[in-house]
């Protein structure tokens, strides 16, 4: 039963990453709205966290970060919705970027550790690689953002950058869903 709950929450986590990594904004009557808001992702993770903590107690350290990051996503989403332009407080964005980077790093490390405990060595390695790749890419984007270099990206460089972002996002979502499916496959037939 515990394992089934864990697999169920892994689905939440997988979908959480869809909301966290994909920004699908639409303009409606001069207002901009992200139909895949990040705060939904953090909400899903918050709901799934107790199940992760059962498997990996150190994951409890992430709880306050999830709450902080989720609240900030709510504020940004509402602010963007109301003002029509990206709502941002640079100093706060910086501190939350650092927290977000740590959160995803540690969270994926915890998932990897659980996967290893369950004998899913391949998925454990993939999660570690994802953790590393995502951390490096996020660090690069954040550094470029605060150096005001992102706006200089044009033409081929912009295309390459966007391609990299799409690949990273796809890789992350695929890896987490693959891990979810692997855990599901471990369940006894009657529980699955």
């Amino acid at each position: 039963m515990k394992t089934k709950t864990y697999v169920h929450n892994l689905s939440r986590i997988a979908w959480a990453y869809v909301f966290l990594l994909i920004d699908f904004s639409m303009s409606v009557n001069d207002f901009s709205i992200n139909v895949l808001p990040g705060w939904v992702g953090f909400l899903l993770i918050f709901l799934a966290l107790p199940s992760v903590e059962e498997q990996e107690p150190s994951a409890s350290l992430l709880r306050p970060l999830v709450i902080l990051l989720g609240l900030w996503e709510v504020i940004r989403w509402v602010g963007t919705l109301v003002t029509g332009s990206v709502f941002d407080i640079p100093l706060l964005t910086l501190i939350l970027s650092a927290l977000s980077m740590y959160f995803h790093f540690q969270f994926l490390t915890n998932l990897s550790s659980i996967a290893r405990t369950h004998g899913l060595l391949e998925d454990s390695e993939k999660l570690l690689h994802l953790r590393t790749g995502l951390t490096l890419f996020t660090a690069l984007v954040t550094i470029l953002y605060f150096l005001n270099l992102l706006e200089l990206f044009q033409g081929v460089f912009l295309g390459l950058f966007l391609l990299g972002a799409i690949l990273c996002t796809s890789w992350a979502i695929w890896t987490v869903f693959h891990y979810r499916n692997a855990e599901k496959a471990l369940l006894p037939a009657e529980e699955a």
Partner: protein, 651 residues
């Protein structure tokens, strides 16, 4: 830092950085290792070295603007030698020095601060010297103790140093950087204490403590930073504890904690270039709690620690936000003016956009931001003049005829169409409209001669020349973005053998409006000034589009001679660049209507994103005169010759 204000700005920016790091460390206290908890202070060290505002950005802009306001208010009535009242607060280097003899009260305050720095440095130096002198009274360690030190070093791969025993000290410490000495108390020291001190030596913590002491001296009068430097020292000790615990196993770790517990009430030597196991009772209690929670952080943690630190570097070292352009509404005018002095228009077009909109909105802050630093009085007078004359603007403006001068300077005309011109008595100018058979309000232009130049790195400014002019429009609705016969053009005249050549050029630039993301921005951000609406100034604007109109005229020196000598006189204007087609015109000189002149011309646009005003390709041209298709004379002019270094060409 050469004056009180530059020190205040520097210590303020460093304080914000320190506060930011404290908050981040608090949030990641139990998540990242003591290696990161101490290592991240390296960002603060770099921040201490980099001058505040060096990159035109600040961590928080409001305090910088408030400081500038305080400076201008205080220095207005003082005659400081160290700073100019209206110039922006600037930090050249992060260390203070005296640039002259003090005169005003703020000068003397800075001298007092400098004296404090020297006093602190002297105190640290003397305490170190005193300690070294004290060490001379120490005696060498016994053979047993020397063997103990050697064993610890070989067990943990550390390098030993000279060791002495000194009476009256409560715990061991290391003193010195280039010739370090391990000082032991009379009773000797446990292996774990030796390990702790030797790890300090191995990590060059004594050298780091000297650097922090220098920084502490420079910011001696900032109590918050003094607290931060104390925290840095404690983090250094916590890191050393972590290193010790990583080398010890099981029960040894518990015993290490017990050793610390015994030192809770001990005094400890405090001098730069020294390290000590003990750092005060309260700190030791904290360290003991950390020891009970000791964990070995996995290798991967180093990656995220480094990435987080690298992410912080650009923002904390170079600042986050440039000083925003004051709106002129929210705060008292002195605050807006001071804030405007800190604004940088980073492009020529940005300076023009800010200045032009400052004129239209009669906004002193915008005009100040785009004006040279020393011309605050002229800005105030200009605003006064605008208000007295009650000028009306339609909300558009154009840059006419930017003529390059020496260096990166251009003389130009700022042209503002207006649907209502007023005469000297303040009455609207009128013009008779034949179509409507009535007097109507006259359309016209307000024209301001200006000079655009780069005052210093990353700051473009616009200086107003004397003589605001008004021009009536002949047509009621001309599109002056394509030029206007009512407005001046650049001209040059060349006397040739066959006649006089006259070339004129009207060059019109428009500037890219600030792009807004999202439709609501125009609603929230547009400026309403006297019935006109336009977007706020863009300090980083680029020239978006340029149009030029040229005319070429040849007037025969002897019309009758020309009429007698040929049946066709032709003028050809050719351009060296391949994209501009030749202009041609011909006349029958024998025709009664011919007035001895050939006239031709045309215009075109060029655009994309233009960084600085430039001449159109067709500024270089050749005019050739033919009589009956026989070449008579040819004149070649290069734009840089007939426009460059020829001021007042535009009439």
């Amino acid at each position: 830092m050469t004056n009180l204000w530059s020190f205040l700005l520097q210590t303020l920016e460093v304080s914000w950085t320190a506060l930011f790091l404290l908050i981040l460390k608090r949030l990641l206290a139990d998540k990242l290792s003591p290696h990161w908890q101490y290592g991240v202070w390296g960002v603060l060290f770099l921040r201490l070295l980099i001058p505040a505002g060096a990159f035109g950005r600040y961590l928080l802009t409001f305090p910088a603007a408030a400081l500038q306001t305080a400076k201008e208010t205080a220095e207005a009535s003082l005659s400081s030698v160290f700073c100019d009242p209206s110039s922006p607060v600037q930090v050249i280097v992060g260390i203070p020095w005296l640039s002259g003899a003090p005169k005003s009260a703020t000068d003397w305050l800075f001298v007092l601060y400098l004296a404090g720095v020297l006093f602190c440095l002297a105190r640290y130096f003397l305490s170190y010297v005193f300690l070294r002198l004290l060490l001379r009274r120490g005696r060498p360690v016994s053979e047993r103790q020397q063997k103990q030190i050697t064993d610890v070093c070989s067990r943990y791969g550390l390098t030993p140093c000279r060791a002495v025993i000194l009476n009256g000290i409560p715990s061991a410490f290391v003193c010195g950087v280039f010739s370090p000495v391990l000082v032991l108390p009379e009773k000797g020291a446990d292996d774990k204490i030796l390990l702790h001190e030797l790890l300090h030596l191995h990590s060059m913590d004594a050298f780091q403590s000297i650097l922090w002491s220098v920084c502490r001296s420079i910011h001696w009068c900032n109590p918050f930073l003094q607290y931060v430097f104390n925290r840095i020292g404690n983090d250094m000790e916590s890191l050393c504890d972590q290193r010790v615990l990583e080398l010890l196993e099981g029960e040894e770790r518990r015993k290490y904690g017990e050793i610390l517990l015994d030192m809770t009430n001990d005094r400890y030597p405090r001098a730069p270039g020294t390290t000590s196991l003990s750092n005060g009772g309260r700190n030791i209690r904290r360290r003991i709690v950390a020891i009970t929670r000791f964990q070995k952080y996995p290798k991967g943690t180093a990656l995220v620690s480094v990435c987080i630190t690298l992410t912080l570097l650009p923002a904390l070292l170079t600042g986050i936000s440039a000083m925003p352009l004051p709106s002129g509404d929210t705060f008292p005018s002195s605050f807006n003016t001071a804030g405007a002095h800190l604004v940088r228009c980073t492009t020529a077009a940005g300076a023009v956009d800010t200045y032009a909109k400052g004129l239209m909105a009669q906004n002193s802050a915008w005009l100040t931001a785009a004006s040279p630093s020393q011309e605050q009085t002229q800005v105030d007078e200009l605003v006064q003049e605008l208000r007295q004359k009650n000028l009306f603007f339609n909300g558009d403006y154009y840059l006419y005829n930017p003529v390059p001068c020496k260096g990166r300077r251009w003389q130009a005309l700022l042209v503002f169409p207006t649907s209502c011109l007023y005469d000297e008595n303040g009455m609207p100018e009128t013009v008779y409209n034949q179509e409507h058979s009535a007097e109507e309000t006259a359309w016209g232009y307000h024209v301001f001669p200006v000079t655009i130049f780069q005052e210093n790195k990353n700051r473009w400014v616009v200086a107003a020349e004397d003589g605001h002019q008004q021009f009536l429009m002949e047509d009621t609705f001309p599109p002056c973005r394509y030029g206007s016969e009512d407005l001046p053009s650049c001209q040059t005249t060349v006397e040739g053998e066959t006649g006089t050549f006259l070339a004129s050029l009207q060059l019109i630039y428009t500037i890219q409006p600030e792009t807004a993301s999202g439709g609501n921005s125009s609603f929230f951000e547009s400026i309403n000034a006297g019935g006109t609406t336009f977007l706020p100034p863009d300090r980083n604007a680029e020239f978006s589009w340029a149009f030029y109109y040229q005319t070429f005229q040849w007037t025969a020196k002897d019309q009758s001679a020309v009429s007698a000598s040929c049946s066709k006189v032709r003028m050809n204007v050719s351009f060296p660049d391949a994209y501009t087609a030749d202009y041609e015109v011909d006349e029958n000189p024998g025709a009664p209507a011919w007035n001895g002149t050939l006239l031709t011309g045309g215009g075109s646009s060029f655009g994309g994103t233009i960084t600085e005003p430039e001449l159109p390709p067709s500024a270089d041209f050749r005019i050739t005169i033919f009589f009956d298709d026989v070449l008579q004379e040819s004149v070649t002019l290069h734009g840089k010759e007939w426009l460059y270094e020829n001021e007042n060409l535009c009439s």
